[in-house]
């Protein structure tokens, strides 16, 4: 039996097992220069991953190749290319049910093809990690950055985190396992980045040594029975509520869905610890002009903060969201206490983040909420555009 208890020193790849805290916060780090896809490889290499299933789609293919290389090198236990994303997400579900720590990657149309699986993942309470390299959704065909697909995922019962850059992606993948596998959380985590802007951009990154790794997954801490015939099958397996037509079965199904959402809520303290907060601020704390953004839009908003200060003498700040599910309500409320204008720059046409912020601040803030600028389909978001939009509103 290839079970490795936490107390054992080394994992199957011969890496020394260290705590998530040591790996994330204490281990010495060295500077490297790499793309987001390469950062995925470096994170998976240090994560004692049991299984990964891949399928090609731009822009996530390279990350998936590199996980395959880790399998060939003996760091990942099981790896293969599935038939399409619907199959892949079911294969990783089976792998997770059988007691594996699992990671996979996808983008845009792949996310949509796989979609039926995501609520199944959360309903099955498996802590699968999906690295989502967001791209446009057809039609018309686009392979360019655009995060509309994240909107579709918001209510699947999965945690959704958003990394701004290559460094954050590396750290979030490791933190993702640490949080998603907590027995009182144990739901999937989707770690999103903007395709190309992060997946293909080479940046400075600080990495801990690669001879240390996370403790292997402890399947028997799962709140649901592992499907391995080593423990008694759960009562729910013999009496699933869904197939009965009576009131108690309907009520049970409803409470199961609420429980999945509650599990996401229970992830807050863990996520706060491992991500060092659900949000991060940049700029003048008491600013009346506030940007709320995630991913690359936050990077561009930071550039706009600098430009507004330098060219217009206007003080502003960015509130970057690291988690979308759970949504950082309290953090946003606190960060916008002095705000008169809240701008929400986004890489999609629908403004899903604006909608989320409006809901969070409804009747709680007098600030004007402005969902702009919005770019999509691969357009970039130059700081000049952001500044121009701000000046239009506040002058």
């Amino acid at each position: 039996m290839r079970m490795i208890e936490n107390k054992v020193e080394k994992n199957w790849a011969g890496q020394r097992i260290v705590s998530p805290d040591y790996l994330l916060f204490e281990a010495p780090r060295e500077k490297h220069f790499m793309t987001g896809s390469e950062a995925v490889k470096e994170a998976v290499k240090r994560a004692s991953v049991d299984a990964s299933v891949s399928y090609p789609i731009t822009p996530q293919s390279e990350a998936a190749h590199l996980i395959g290389e880790l399998w060939a090198e003996g760091y990942v236990g099981v790896y293969f290319r599935g038939e399409n994303e619907f199959g892949v997400m079911s294969e990783v579900a089976g792998a997770a049910m059988a007691g594996a720590r699992v990671i996979t990657t996808t983008s845009g149309p792949g996310t949509l093809r796989a979609f039926e699986n995501f609520p199944m993942w959360s309903g099955t309470r498996i802590p699968v990690q999906l690295v989502l390299m967001a791209r446009g959704v057809n039609s018309p065909l686009s392979i360019q950055p655009d995060n509309l697909e994240v909107d579709f995922l918001l209510d699947t019962g999965c945690m959704i985190w958003y990394a701004e850059n290559v460094q954050e992606l590396f750290d979030m993948i490791l933190a993702g396992f640490a949080v998603a596998e907590q027995p009182d959380v144990h739901v999937p985590v989707i770690t999103a980045v903007d395709g190309f802007f992060v997946s293909h951009t080479r940046e400075a990154i600080y990495l801990p040594p690669d001879d240390i790794a996370l403790p292997p997954y402890a399947p028997y801490k799962s709140p649901m029975p592992v499907i391995d015939a080593e423990i008694p099958p759960g009562r729910f397996l013999r009496d699933p509520f869904v197939m009965k037509s009576n009131y108690i079965s309907y009520a049970t199904h409803a409470s199961w869905q609420w429980e999945v959402r509650s599990a996401i809520e229970r992830s807050r303290p863990y996520a706060k610890h491992y991500l060092k907060g659900l949000t991060e601020e940049f700029g003048e704390k008491d600013s009346e002009v506030v940007f709320i953004a995630c991913g690359t839009a936050a990077s561009q908003a930071k550039e706009a903060v600098r430009m507004l200060e330098e060219t217009e003498g206007i003080k502003s700040k960015v509130v970057k969201l690291k988690t979308i599910r759970p949504f950082p309500y309290e953090e946003i409320l606190e960060a916008t206490k002095n705000a008169k204008y809240i701008f929400i720059p986004e890489f999609n046409v629908v403004g899903w983040l604006e909608r989320e912020v409006r809901k969070a601040l409804y009747k709680k803030s007098d600030a004007e909420i402005i969902g702009t600028p919005r770019v999509a389909g691969g357009m970039t978001m130059p700081k000049e555009i952001i500044v121009r939009e701000v000046l239009e509103y506040i002058k």
Binding site: D50, A51, E83, G87, G94, A95, A98, A229, L237, R238
Partner: protein, 286 residues
């Protein structure tokens, strides 16, 4: 052997449901020679079934569960349809996740169990209907064969979508009138057993469940070959007596009449599969 997981704590025996205690005391565990002849005298792994009275699929599931050579280490993956009504009552580890993805889920489970337990035989068996296997799930069924996944896939072919109220399926014979084919089905029954052969299965059988002993032999051979070599496929005729207008005691006669025509017994084994079967025969297990 993991059948110790079915042992009930002595102190709780008086409050644990009777059927759970019976599972420990009267079911056949750790005996690969178990089979359909045990049915009248041992505790079945199916507590009860919630299908229609006289449904041949319920008989098929009982025969299959009685024939599993290694129930204590067998995972069963199913799909949506009439079979998903039965799964709650099976006392093994079972999975229902979505409609059509059963062979994908089974692939993930099997690969990880081989990784986690390299020295243990853990059998993974897929049980699904014709809609799940051949229509909505055909891609995933065949791709698992292409990939040479070491799983046994069993299709309950009732030639119709029964659970949703009687719609035509890919396995409906040409010309039959069902819902969604009000003028009769326009194309031939999909020869799934042939697709299984062409897609790399090492053992393929097509039969009705009119003969329990034959079902037992086929199930055991398919599971042993899957354990050692790769994918195996069993195609069972389990008519929906409700949708073809038969009485609850007509199922057996219906199957017997099809034994002579489109469900005439058919079996395919690769030379490697023959060797595996011969080995198990020599061990007295077949």
């Amino acid at each position: 052997m993991a059948y110790k997981i079915y042992k009930v704590n002595e102190e709780f025996k008086d409050i644990v449901p009777e059927e759970v205690v019976e599972l420990e005391e009267k079911a056949t565990w750790g005996n690969p020679k178990r089979g359909v002849m045990d049915l009248p005298v041992t505790k079945e792994l199916l507590e009860e079934h919630s299908l229609c009275a006289g449904c041949p699929e319920s008989a098929a599931i009982r025969y299959i569960l009685a024939s599993l050579p290694n129930p204590e280490d067998t995972i069963i993956v199913n799909s949506t349809g009439c079979t998903s009504l039965v799964f709650p009552h099976i006392s093994l580890h079972t999975v229902h996740s979505l409609f059509g993805n059963q062979n994908s889920v089974a692939s993930g489970i099997k690969r990880v169990l081989e990784w986690r337990f390299p020295d243990k035989a853990k059998d993974v068996v897929v049980l699904a209907g014709d809609g799940a296997t051949v229509d909505i799930g055909l891609d995933y069924t065949l791709q698992s064969f292409f990939r040479q996944e070491k799983i046994t896939t069993i299709c309950f072919d009732n030639e119709v979508y029964a659970n949703t109220g009687g719609q035509e399926s890919g396995l409906t014979p040409k010309g039959h009138v069902f819902k969604m084919a009000p003028k009769g089905k326009l194309f031939d029954k999909v020869p799934m057993w042939q697709l299984a052969i062409d897609s790399g299965c090492h053992y393929v059988a097509r039969l009705t469940v009119s003969s329990p002993k034959k079902v037992e032999r086929v199930i055991k051979e398919a599971i042993y070959v899957a354990r050692e070599l790769g994918p195996t496929y069993i195609h069972l005729y389990t008519p929906c007596i409700l949708e073809i207008g038969l009485n609850s005691d007509d199922g057996l006669d219906e199957m017997r009449s099809r034994d002579k025509e489109r469900f005439a017994f058919f079996e395919y084994k690769t030379p490697h599969a023959e060797e595996v079967i011969a080995k198990y025969k020599a061990e007295g297990l077949l």
